[in-house]
Symmetry: C2
Subunit: 253 residues, 2 copies
Amino acid sequence: MLSKNKIKFIQSLNRKKNRDESKRFLVEGNKLVEEVLRSDFIIETLVCTSGFLHQHPEIRSTVNELIETDGESIQKASLLQNPQDALAVVCQPDYFEPAPNLKKELILALDFIQDPGNLGTILRIADWFGINTVICSENTVDAFNPKVVQASMGAIFRVKTGYTNIEKFLSETGKNQIPVYGTFLEGKDIYNETLTRNGIIVLGNEGHGISDAVSRFLTQKLFIPCFSSEENKPESLNVAIATAICCSEFRRR
Amino acid sequence: MLSKNKIKFIQSLNRKKNRDESKRFLVEGNKLVEEVLRSDFIIETLVCTSGFLHQHPEIRSTVNELIETDGESIQKASLLQNPQDALAVVCQPDYFEPAPNLKKELILALDFIQDPGNLGTILRIADWFGINTVICSENTVDAFNPKVVQASMGAIFRVKTGYTNIEKFLSETGKNQIPVYGTFLEGKDIYNETLTRNGIIVLGNEGHGISDAVSRFLTQKLFIPCFSSEENKPESLNVAIATAICCSEFRRR
């Protein structure tokens, strides 16, 4: 039985303030709930139909609180337009202190990404390209925003995502001669540059690109060439699209 | 003065049925309205503030009907959450009969793309990579959907976008030995394949990929390698992300 209080709590997770206070977040939809069941994340409450439970008998042993109910009740609690057969209240992992091995690893650093769909898509790209760490500036949208979780298609459970002061983070990597890349209109053609296997790729804000405060830590400015005709050129690529092309270029070599 | 009837008509353009009947579509926001002013598209009605008009004096000579009004009235007509200083009712170009020169050109063919954000982003990618023609299956979302127009960031005014029976279209190109590419889980590593300068890249539906009816026309199946660890691999990339990586690979060579 899904109580009114529980419904109220589930819906309150739409707001960052409530997620921060409770240290919980919401995972919705059959596929995503299956992903979180397979992950190391701790599920506090799982709400699902008897049909979903029947398909996933392991739920009984992995979940703190199990609420079996009907589709109608799930609909009442859901933030989605078309709710499915399951939703989960999940514990946020402690925000990690980012400590990737930058002598070996390639990671992403996000400088003020605002759109939840973009952040979710960037996590999904990182996951595909085997990038295990994404560091976000403190003004980047919350990774546990339900829209980020949804757009990440489960990548949020696999890619370590942390928030920090990225200027400070980058200034410390500078002492260790770690390469720091970013895309700029005046950068060098990414297809012809030598790219390392390790380092940091910085991605900037949707409207303003990489901030001045961050760009001074870059060691190499890259540019994704535009193949459109000169007289009527588009201004820019979406940040998730630029991320995809950068990751593809770093990994294919 | 923005009449009630005009507001009603503008808002009616949110629905495909009304766009089809009136052969009009809606363009919102300062940047997009500036883009349509620079394009060959015919603007039937332009609604803007006096400030916007002052910045763009050419409007008076390029627009059939000009309605100067205040931000509050624009807000009443707008479909956006945060309307700006201008919106335009624009004539749809006649849906073109797709006739690209496939012996020379590279084009995209979309097989049942459902999400307006994805279609808009794909048009923006095509624009960046100098791909001038995008052919959509008849069940692909309408390119004049306001969300597509918005996500395209003006690419809709530059990339020729037409709707047709793509199976029929592909069967005819087959007679002329045009290469037809598509991405498949069982395809060949895109980074190592020989890619031609001309031909068709087919992109499939968000959930189901390329349909069987369409896949039989492919001459080369490609795969974007996943670099994630074996035990917990992501299932797929978003279709717009796959489009970006394909376009980048075709163009960089």
